[in-house]
Subunit: 354 residues, 2 copies
DNA sequence: TCATTTCTGAGGAACGTACCTCAAAAATTG
DNA sequence: CAATTTTTGAGGTACGTTCCTCAGAAATGA
């Protein structure tokens, strides 16, 4: 009737509790034959290890570290909030999170930060960073010391990171392309992509996916060369303004990175609001308000809350050397328009029970 | 350095462990003054109760019941699978789930099922059912016996259910309407809504949201009266075929409920594939394949995995009398097109660690 | 065969909390 | 003031697991 415990398995398998424990925790010193017998007993009884008890006994607490660039990007800020909130929840399961920021312009500082993390103090690291050689080496060294690392938001495929928590930028770009194409149905003209920097892998991949779709399925649309704003609103205002003035047949704008507010300001200044189909990425306070007011037609987003929780779950699983539930960790490419805009996340954070 | 425990609170507050325990678990026999002192100590130390240890000590196990209609609807089937998978995961935290089905045509049987659930055996119920008077009374009686209930997928607002796990049908309909309108940009004509039955609240609300948007923002599109298929593929084939033959200016099809396969078959038979913009609801094997092949342009969906996990989390929180994390339980209205179609969920279910 | 290595059993302490009992202390009553 | 009630303290056991030690059994080598 009641749930089987390790003692039940021991009895069922005809071995001692100690042996069951050795098998369950993959400790050495057990014959293949015995391991098999224990596993069969586990299957017969349908034993599921009680995680609560296991973690209690381990009395291990998990100190995770999240490293985000200290940029004023709204997406990073939103993600930081989501991480903080997820950490508050995870505190109940002995997981704490140190949220650190590094200056985005100097990867050496980031590398130094990573280098000073010690395996006995750090159960795992979630890192959001571009994959430069310096970062790559630092990540490899970190993993060499036995500290698991997940790439957050932007992948680091050549570092041997344990996991990538985020969405496929190429597919996200394709999605943006389809929406652009369909929203521009019947129109003929050019689409202007606007990015922070085309040195970032994410932007490159988004752009590639976007172009693929436009070329294959929407021959009436023509993607122009990407304008780079380097995250500066005034640069965006100037160069996008100039390009629009010089190109009368632009029908769509594709905002690959940040700049929602600057773009809205520009369009308002020039009396161009509503003249273009505008597609962007990531849901932030600015893109939310642009969606609401109709200056932005759709956003391709990843859910920061899911990102944060998934990162913590994966790190926890890695720290426990447990397999991860691929299904649950699969992040979706979200399409957000005004009508399915999720409600603003609440600011207050309840801790104590009622 | 390490996490504070009940003993630390006792010391900090200058009381005994027993008193701290009484306060934490809201047991009687403690003066207001002492309660306050303990709470202050808790705040000062930043104590967070270790849920794992707490539940272990309680040695409480949670038997949840999910009740789904025994229809052959693919969405219900998908949801059932998701619930089973979520339950396998939840087993590690002493939560088990009994997945029951009831004949969709007889609410009396459902009511009887609900009536026989006893509070000492059942920690919570997740119910997917239309809100008929019989169901309403049964749910009220259930809650009267102290068993928490969450409405799953389809809300039961007038039953006093503890929580609704699902998306707002009205907003989902609006989202469908916007996509229909935008995908039909430049076209003038009629849109044909197809539903299983317009007696279901979900269909009514979706239709209402859809109409609102079409009327307000897309004057070139005109929504026709809804065709009801009663879930029968042959009925769909016949009546939709007839209506399309009689109405040459249909530009869009809006599938409010099931019938993706039957609709695809009809369009294929008549050589009409690709002639209409088709928008549907819910991601199922049939709608997936329709999206992939291009017979379906977009799907408005709720993630069954999230639904299932959210339902279990909420029920668990209710059973523990803990507050629920609104942010995490907020389900999104997902827009799925071919480009952001999530990968097919894997069939196999890893249980044991590697 | 004996020595050696490899495996197994028995037992116990610990993790942080819940919940129980009994007695002592403090507050409240008449 | 004593009698009563209310509040508090001290100590214990239990939950299911992890992880430790040490001795003894079994398998393996020479």
């Amino acid at each position: 009737m009641t749930r089987p415990t390790v003692n039940d398995i021991a009895r069922e398998a005809g071995v001692s509790l100690a042996t069951v424990d050795r098998v369950l925790n993959a400790r050495p010193g057990v014959r293949e034959k015995t391991i098999l017998a224990v596993h069969q007993a586990i299957d017969r009884l349908g034993y599921v290890r009680d995680l609560a008890a296991a973690n209690l006994a381990r009395s291990r607490s998990y100190r995770m570290v999240a490293l985000l660039p200290d940029s004023d990007s709204q997406f990073v800020q939103t993600l930081a909030d989501a991480l903080t909130e997820a950490a508050a929840l995870a505190a109940a399961s002995r997981t704490e999170l140190d949220l650190l920021r590094y200056p985005p312009e100097d990867m050496h500082i980031l590398a130094a930060r990573l280098a000073e993390l010690r395996p006995d103090e750090t159960a795992g690291v979630a890192l959001m960073a571009p994959e430069t050689p310096i970062v790559r080496d630092a990540v490899r060294a970190l993993r060499g010391r036995g500290i698991p690392l997940v790439a957050l938001g932007s992948d680091l495929p050549n570092t041997g990171r344990d996991h990538f928590v985020g969405i496929d930028s190429h597919a996200a770009g394709r999605t943006a392309g389809v929406l652009m194409g369909r929203f521009c149905r019947g129109l003929k003209g050019r689409v202007l992509p606007i990015a922070d920097s085309m040195l970032l892998r994410d932007s490159i991949e988004r752009r590639r996916g976007f172009d693929e779709v436009l070329q294959a399925d929407f021959p009436d649309l023509d993607a122009m060369p990407t304008l780079e704003t380097h995250g500066a609103p005034d640069v965006l205002h100037r160069i996008v303004g100039a390009r629009l003035a010089a190109t009368p047949d632009v029908v769509g704008l594709y905002l690959l990175g940040s700049g929602h507010r600057a773009l809205a300001a520009l369009l308002r200044d020039r009396g161009l609001l509503g003249r273009f189909v505008v597609i962007g990425h990531e849901l932030t306070p600015h893109s939310r308000s642009a969606l609401r007011s109709g200056h932005l037609d759709a956003v391709i987003a990843q859910n920061p809350g899911h990102l944060a929780r998934s990162a913590l779950r994966v790190l926890r699983a890695k720290a426990d050397r447990q397999p991860i539930d691929e299904g649950q960790e699969q992040l979706r490419i979200e399409v957000v328009i005004r009508e399915n805009l999720p409600p603003e996340p609440a600011e207050d954070c309840q801790i104590r029970a009622a």
